[in-house]
Symmetry: C2
Subunit: 311 residues, 2 copies
């Protein structure tokens, strides 16, 4: 079997996948803190999947999706701030212990691969737009993840779409992440809450002025990201995922209304049929863990020796 | 020999290219008006190149780059407004007459192919950003033109980067083309001129208030397009071409100053080294005609029968 993990800031989602690409098992655990905590969580999740598996199917590869930067050609993750990880070489820690290849990929990119595979439309060019603490996209084209030469393909979060927009943590103004990222919305909403985006949406529905402005920015930011992905990469579909998509139709309807407004203003935008090209990842989807499993399996098949040595 | 043509609103640039990819001849003619005028210009240019050629090297393929939309999989050009062409089937008109395959491509996409080939860096991912009457980009990746499933890859001109920006002909506000397209600048500059962008720049240097705002918008629009192309497609280089690049260093320095300002504000933007990734196409470059020749040659090599029938 192939194992895939999505190591998130609070929980880790792990799946077992058979050679036909079917998910045969799934466990969810709280994520430990720091390099040792993350490593222990991954080991524990793999152990739980191994105990659950039918028969004695050996684990043949492990793929891990996690936040942070994965330097192309390396398996080192850096800057995974939400996990308390400045730098981590998971393959180096796990391969000697598990005796199998361990591949690591950025979690958004892993989710893009998983979302594409779950849709089962092979020729489709897809962007997975993650609306979480931050905003970033992963792109799949010709059935493969497209990282770009420097790994910045899909980094739409720090494109400014409003020179007078709210300041972004990155130092610019009006970035898509400043408009539509969960951390930025929480910061701008100011009221303490465990679910600031939901609270903001409720307050907007109730007529609160600040909340309505923040809601407008959220929808405008997501719509801008969709337009940019379509007009640069010409993706067939933009799949929205991440924590903010727990809003469900409230998010979808708001984004579609923004896209409709630009389609109404512009025959060119209308010709793009954007409203039909936006979808939400189903709630509880295992896309990121599934994608990580596929990435681990692919790397193992392509470079069975190398993946053991370098991950 | 292979022939490539860049059919522009005022002039047509035509080159002869040998099988090694070297330009062996070049002619420039005024472009005729409407479908018949364009067809006659193409025939005349090919005749002039044939007369110039050394020895008796037969013409083996023709590639034509021209403004307008080329429907993927077809050779029909539509909406080439500047040429007086609503619809034109050049291969249908030319192939029976010339007896060789004729391929047609959008001129910006042809220029992207040509700019990439002229740089002779095979693995490079390149965007060619055309700053002419309008603004659009062509993208080359893995040595091939990337059109996208609907042919809108690189259509950055109608991405809005300022909700309070100037109205765009497309119906939106603050589109990159509204900020940095020649037609929009001429419209906003209002004073009659045969070189409105140059006049505006001169007036800005002399302190004119309106001109300084338009100049700022031009530089901001080009810089936004560069950031978007790098942060979605992760191109190695953005090559600027088109009529507005006749400004040379005045354009380059203004765009670099904009990119430097965002790099100064943001460590993330700084890490992208954008100023080093922007280049101007050399004045008088035959990139578009050369790219058209390569596209014609490639289509002829890949589908020798089909290209005769369908172009």
């Amino acid at each position: 079997m192939r194992v895939g993990l999505d190591v998130g800031g609070t929980k880790t989602d792990a799946v077992a996948v058979d050679e036909s690409g079917t998910i045969t098992g799934r466990v969810r655990l709280a994520t430990g803190w720091g390099p040792d905590g993350v490593t222990a969580t991954v080991v524990e999740a793999i152990g739980a999947l191994a105990r659950e598996r039918p028969g004695d199917d050996p684990i043949r590869s492990v793929g891990v999706g996690m936040p942070g930067q994965v330097v192309p050609g390396s398996a080192h993750v850096t800057h995974a701030v939400n996990l308390g990880v400045a730098e981590l070489d998971l393959p180096g820690r796990l391969q000697p212990r598990l005796g199998v290849a361990v591949a690591v990929e950025n979690d958004v990119k892993a989710a893009a691969v998983g979302a594409h595979a779950l849709r089962r439309r092979q020729g489709e060019t897809l962007a997975y737009l993650n609306l979480g603490t931050g905003v970033a996209a992963g792109i799949v084209r010709d059935g493969r993840l497209w990282r770009g030469p420097r790994g910045t393909a899909g980094e739409v979060g720090h494109i400014s779409v409003d020179p007078d927009g709210p300041p972004c943590q990155c130092g610019q103004r009006g970035c898509i992440e400043a408009l539509a990222g969960g951390a930025s919305i929480a910061r701008r909403w100011e009221r303490p809450s465990s679910l600031p985006v939901r609270d903001m949406m409720d307050a907007a529905d109730a007529g609160d002025h600040t909340a309505r402005r923040l809601r407008g920015d959220l929808m405008a930011g997501v719509a801008a990201a969709v337009r940019i992905l379509v007009l640069t990469v010409d993706v067939d579909v933009v799949v929205l995922g991440g924590g903010i998509t727990a809003l469900g139709d409230r998010l979808r309807n708001g984004v579609v209304a923004e896209l409709d407004a630009s389609a109404e203003a512009s025959a060119f935008m209308r010709s793009l049929h954007l409203r039909e090209r936006v979808e939400l990842l189903p709630a509880g989807s295992a896309a990121a863990a599934f994608g990580a499993a596929l990435i681990g399996a692919a790397r193992d098949r392509e470079h069975p020796q190398e993946s053991m040595i370098h991950g």
